[in-house]
Subunit: 480 residues, 4 copies
């Protein structure tokens, strides 16, 4: 779907995690279903993955876990999956910035604490993690990873001493941690899901037979043949036990307009077959394409998307403009994570190896090329170039998002401002740099339409942060 295979933003932007929890009341093993679920979330993180399971009928605190660097099908073998017995479990796929890409940081985090064992998987970035770390260290805490999950785990553990249940401890912890997080916590007899009050990251509930699922994206429910129950609300804590699902909404904002879903989930991160808080990712992209066609029309013969994430908006543009939609590119889907990149000096380029143009489709045509973002601009320039080489008469670039101008503190790995092509440049200057005949970005106002009115976070485009950003740059070492 993206990232390593993607020629567009995926080369330059990274989502940071996907979580998948499952609790089977019929006591079937959940590990292999979690494995298939993580497959459906693989686009959210390709660096490491892990599964931790437990048996709710077994001895309290006996957890079986396996984590490793790489994709799901590299880390897990049939033997490993078969060894992971248990009817409750949590899985995780992870991407991280280079510095902290180690096995120690792979999730789920499994730990012993006062009440037995806890496994924890989360997606997002805390804004106050460094402060919380320092505070914990002053009270004698030791940290064996550099992931936020460990900070969250400590808070749950400390709250647990004072509270009557693990879900209360999670609530207590949530009062202290600030930032973006969707969380799945497995305790010996309960599975808890929580989403930060802003709702930055998605999390939803599914059901299959007598089992409940908590998962980052609804597409994974289709994959495993489960039905979608509902989204976890921003600020909500759901506790899944034998007795059903309990909901704690005390931490939800009274004023729902303070919520701030990451709009980039709709634009790029999520799979098009996912639906978040009632809004289809596919529809959002079609809408963005339609909006671009209305706002930035141009006469042309063909609309094409840069695969894969540009295709949805391209289809929308074509629908609105009545200019035929077509396929211009062939992507080599064998070019994966472990692909040997050509050296600078070599005649081959990574772009050419991953992407080829269908000359017959574009030769002699005026082409509208839709992409979801321009980050540094180098890839866009290369793609415009190979379209022209293949005989395209004109290349008009339309981007289904506004220009990136500001850092994200909530989990998206956007490069620093000086590396962003849009930083300090006009649209025309960018257009010249990438060699296009014309260039337009989606207007910011259109983002809200795209999300069908849901309150969203547009900080990376607008600079308007829903939470005060930290004074020191917390991205990097401690980014999870």
């Amino acid at each position: 779907m993206r990232h390593d295979l993607n020629m567009t933003a995926g080369d330059e932007l990274h989502e940071e995690c996907g979580v998948f929890g499952m609790y089977d009341f019929d006591h079937g093993d959940v590990a292999s279903t979690i494995y298939y679920g993580l497959f459906a979330l693989q686009h959210r993180g390709q660096e490491s993955c892990g599964i931790a399971v437990s048996d709710t009928a077994g001895p309290k605190g006996k957890v079986n876990a396996y984590k490793g660097m790489g994709l799901c099908n590299e880390v897990f073998t049939p033997e490993i999956l078969e060894g992971l017995h248990g009817n409750i479990g949590v899985g995780h796929v992870r991407y991280s910035t280079a510095g902290s890409s180690t096995r120690e940081n792979a999730q789920p985090l499994v730990l012993n604490y006062i009440k037995g064992t806890l496994a924890l998987a989360h997606n997002g970035n805390l804004v106050n993690a460094p402060d919380l770390r320092r505070e914990l260290e002053y009270s004698g805490a030791i940290f064996q990873t550099t992931i936020d999950s460990e900070v969250i785990a400590y808070h749950i553990a400390r709250e647990r001493v004072k509270t009557s249940s693990v879900e209360e401890a999670v609530a207590g912890a949530m009062k202290k941690i600030v930032g973006a997080y969707s969380l799945v916590v497995m305790s010996p007899r309960k599975m808890i899901g929580a989403r930060d009050p802003f709702g930055f990251k998605p999390l939803c509930i599914g059901k299959r037979d007598n089992a409940y699922i908590l998962v980052s994206e609804s597409c994974a429910l289709d994959t495993i043949g489960a039905e979608f129950v509902r989204d976890v609300k921003p600020g909500e804590i759901v506790t899944i036990t034998k007795d059903g699902i309990a909901s704690d909404t005390r931490l939800c904002f009274q004023d729902r307009s303070r919520e701030a879903r990451c709009v980039f989930e709709y634009i790029y991160f999520a799979r098009p077959d996912s639906v978040f808080d009632g809004v289809s990712v596919y529809q959002a992209r079609i809408l963005a394409g339609r909006a671009l066609a209305v706002d930035s029309p141009v006469e042309a013969d063909l609309v094409v998307g840069v695969p894969e994430s540009g295709n949805g908006a391209a289809l929308g543009y074509s629908m609105e403009s009545q200019i035929p939609y077509g396929t211009a590119f062939v992507k080599n889907s064998y070019v994966g994570r472990t692909f040997i990149k050509p050296k600078q000096s070599s005649r081959e380029s990574a772009v050419r190896i991953k992407l080829n143009v269908l000359k017959e489709a574009v030769a002699g045509k005026r082409v509208i090329m839709i992409d979801d973002s321009i980050v540094r601009g180098t890839t866009s320039a290369l793609i415009v170039g190979i379209l022209r080489e293949a005989g395209a008469k004109e290349v008009h670039v339309r981007i289904s998002a506004p220009p990136f101008l500001h850092p994200c503190y909530f989990g998206t790995d956007i490069p620093s401002e000086d590396q962003l092509i849009a930083h300090g440049r006009t649209v025309q200057e960018i257009c010249d740099m990438i060699g296009a005949d014309s260039l337009s970005f989606l207007r910011q106002e259109r983002l809200t339409e795209m999300a069908q009115g849901l309150p969203i976070c547009t900080a990376c485009f607008s600079g308007e942060y829903p939470i005060q950003p930290p004074e020191e740059d917390i991205r990097g070492e401690y980014a999870q």
Copy 2:
């Protein structure tokens, strides 16, 4: 692009090889370029791959080779590629039937013979290989593999004793071997390419700076930034030396109409960005789609392709019918060769894990679903089913090839007749079995149009074999 990732024929049909030879007169190392070239051919064989190189300025017969089971990026590491010094080389990707899937059978075949060393890569299946093997054995030959390449190698070696050059020996061997083959032979100072007189399998010539390339598909030339020179003609032997390209066409058919290109290269095997003998694969598929629209029209709201190989014909159908083209499926591109298949009993199905439907795109619509073939029919039935589940009102299936009815002896791994859904069934019966509202196949007459008049082999559809098929079934153990 296909095969392991593909929900359609790729699950059931397999191409059997791709070859890539390169000779750099400027004495640069060719191994890493061959590696990138094999990437572009990976869809032709995912089971094993290998590269053999030599230095034309070095000691005669010193060949460095590395072969292994798996994809290019699994078999080759930077260290291995850097260790493969030489300015002439040949690479191979291979698929084989289960029985003979061993490292011994990986290509290229490297051997010492009377005139030093030979490395040989080939694509295709000989019809008379078992006879030739037996004959050779009677004269004291030993066989260490079960691939046809070893039979070809023996004939070249034996001819070489009687002839003045390796290209003459190749010509001599070609007089004895019968069947489908595209061949690249590396001798210490020459690179030779040959194609059987029927031209079953493609082979073309490329050039980059001062280096020549022989490759199965032209798309690999784009990948490495080389230009297309021309196709090797059916029956032609080209000999590449310092002095340029020599051509020997003595074995070409006088009567060109006897040529018999495998039409399935256009329908399914090849990448759409390849061009064979002047016909673009992309164009051929568009034409097939247009023909289907003309021959088998139906009222509908949406035309969709089963990814990836159905997309071209879907676009053609949409162009001709004016029914909007759209995307109905999201394919999980992380599901690769080493993916753990769900057990029969599990709730997850391989189809659901690989393919999801965009409900928003198809719900309430009459959908025309284009695929390139129906082999056993099970996958088609599953896909029709998930479209209906997602709310499609009608599902009309159009297949961009005629029904499979006969075995192939020339390198395509078609299952035996009793497993072919079309064997002994009417189209309506098949339509019922896969649960579609209507079903049409491409008419056989359309195939020639698709290939723009080139003589083609349609034996698997028509039963008209360009060569008398062998009496015993040679598919299986000795299939290469």
Copy 3:
């Protein structure tokens, strides 16, 4: 030297760790020297190993670590070692009981705490670890491993808040932890070594050029070409900084006779070329053999040791008795950790595969066979059997240790009492069970002689524990 390759106690008894720290004031990289040092300690632990390094001139708290399951030469590659830059480092080899044999538990433990980073390697078992864990959990601690090292690390971290230096924090922690431990702690600018007041486990100081070493056994100093400086005293904390070695002996026993070195280090665990607290392991074994010859003489033609650890005592027995020493066994040194054990039903036995008898050496002879221990007795019976098969006329077994009768709580993995052959049996009964003509054990009084008067722990033989054993059996899950 032993363990997996050893036919005697090594099959049944296991040491639990070896540590190696190094600090080079000349700023050379220490990782590869630590690697060679761990090789020399490999007999102390074959299950996992790890190295953590830091640069004392670099940013505080930047630690590079690599840990893995397996032997040193399985875990480390040249690439990995070259990537471990730093002039201060600590390494560890580990054996553990089955339950907690996971990568998470591999050492050194690397962690962030209030004062930056700490890497910690230790050898031994705490008696009060479970109590300390529970206490820490009540104050909100989380545990990610089941090793005692994490308990020690927490105490150091908590003490560090109250104290002025890391060595004071170690001293503070040592007041709380009770049991057997030899410890190497690496902080950003210091390397600290500590040994519990009983001195159960060895630890010594070495020097090479301008670098200091802390290591479990002196043999590793020979291996890396370093000189032996002195042993760390029981109860002593040594702090190595640029300014040299500081010693803190406040925790040493006033009454040195309370010290309790593990006598099994001399009998079996340690390499014969090591010297602990002034006593040579080789000499101790020679003495044990001599004592056996004096206490339990028998007429015979040949004295042989069960390789490798029985050889020293066999030589001593021969010296004292003047009965010729010889070699009776050929050990297959290729039978390592990953060797596939024969199935119960197969005709091959693990003993025969590892050990063969030199028929020519023993046929027709009365043989005295010296071994270091009998645990379950099964291996001894097999070895006596193959000696007889090879033609030995008589087999007299002499054991260079008293019979095992009691559990060890300080780090030696002795099976539970009901599995010990000596439990509830007379020497004559054991003799009959293993099929020997006569059997004698070393007398307990001889142990002190063997250790040349050093205060030793003989609890596993005598039941006299230097520390009150815990009420619950702490061996198992939390054993480190």
Copy 4:
């Protein structure tokens, strides 16, 4: 036992193969027994190994084989062994010179020929292999490996066309191949063993229940619990079928004194627990030590062997001289094939890492150090040096073989003459170079005594070759 782990000749000399064939008439699977047998032969070759099996009740010519680079326990897993079904099989361990150390060259060689399938394992070096290769190539043969086995296989295949049985074909082939070979050939229903007329390499027959074994060394029979039947005679062909063992001695020398067993098998290559042609390797070494004591006496306090292969002769020297035998060295048995060698510049030396001296054993003593050979002399110098460092007052070196002066063409990888320390130097000069107080070699006359009168090859010492050596140096590329 040796080679990678050995500090003596093993660092510099290499045996080149071990073979193990088994045929179970009770139709039990033989693969795992072959595996254990190869373990016992591992000292004969650590570079690659392989097993090929077949079912004599199954379809003719169905062979299952697995080969790989590395030690037996690295190449084979339980899964692989379990997959190798068949009641007849042949295994091989191999060492080779650097140039041809590839997987292609691993044995057994498995091939199809006129009569079905053949698996072939052999030990030794043909003197006329290059000539035979050339001859075969002129008749159109192709070679896929550089091992002599392929030449032998061709001859068997060609003879088979003309003869009535595979054993006749082997006999026919043996008339053409000249040199050293012990051969095991598996055909669909027969197992054939053959030994060249000179008997350079050992081969013996064993039996277990209803199964026959053909193996390089008798020690492997002990390992698998089989009994020794007899040696295959030099020049004999034994054919094992359901009907028992048939013997063909037509190719044996009439004049038995022409036989030429490799004396180095007794001195160094073989395991001491093996017996060849009635002579015990252990006894031969004891005899060599005794002879040294008689011929080259010296006053001293201690006799020690350089482990492992020097120990036997050291024991013999001690017996004869009445000077006490002792242990001076501790060898690190964890230092295996994949051990990372210290760089030239590093402070650690490979010798120190592998070998340490027991200071307590040698300090202040006059030591006689027995080794089996001196090749280049560098290792000997290092070992003498560390003995002196450890306080030995005198070091007298006695070598249980004469000095190496000539190349071996029959399978022992002796370096070229200019690298042999004995080439062009007097014993006193060598003594000075290695820093010993005195040095003596075994006298050539003693070799025959050592072999108890058996005709032996002493060409590497005497230059008297039993076969005319080839004119061109055939060692290297084609050495097997």
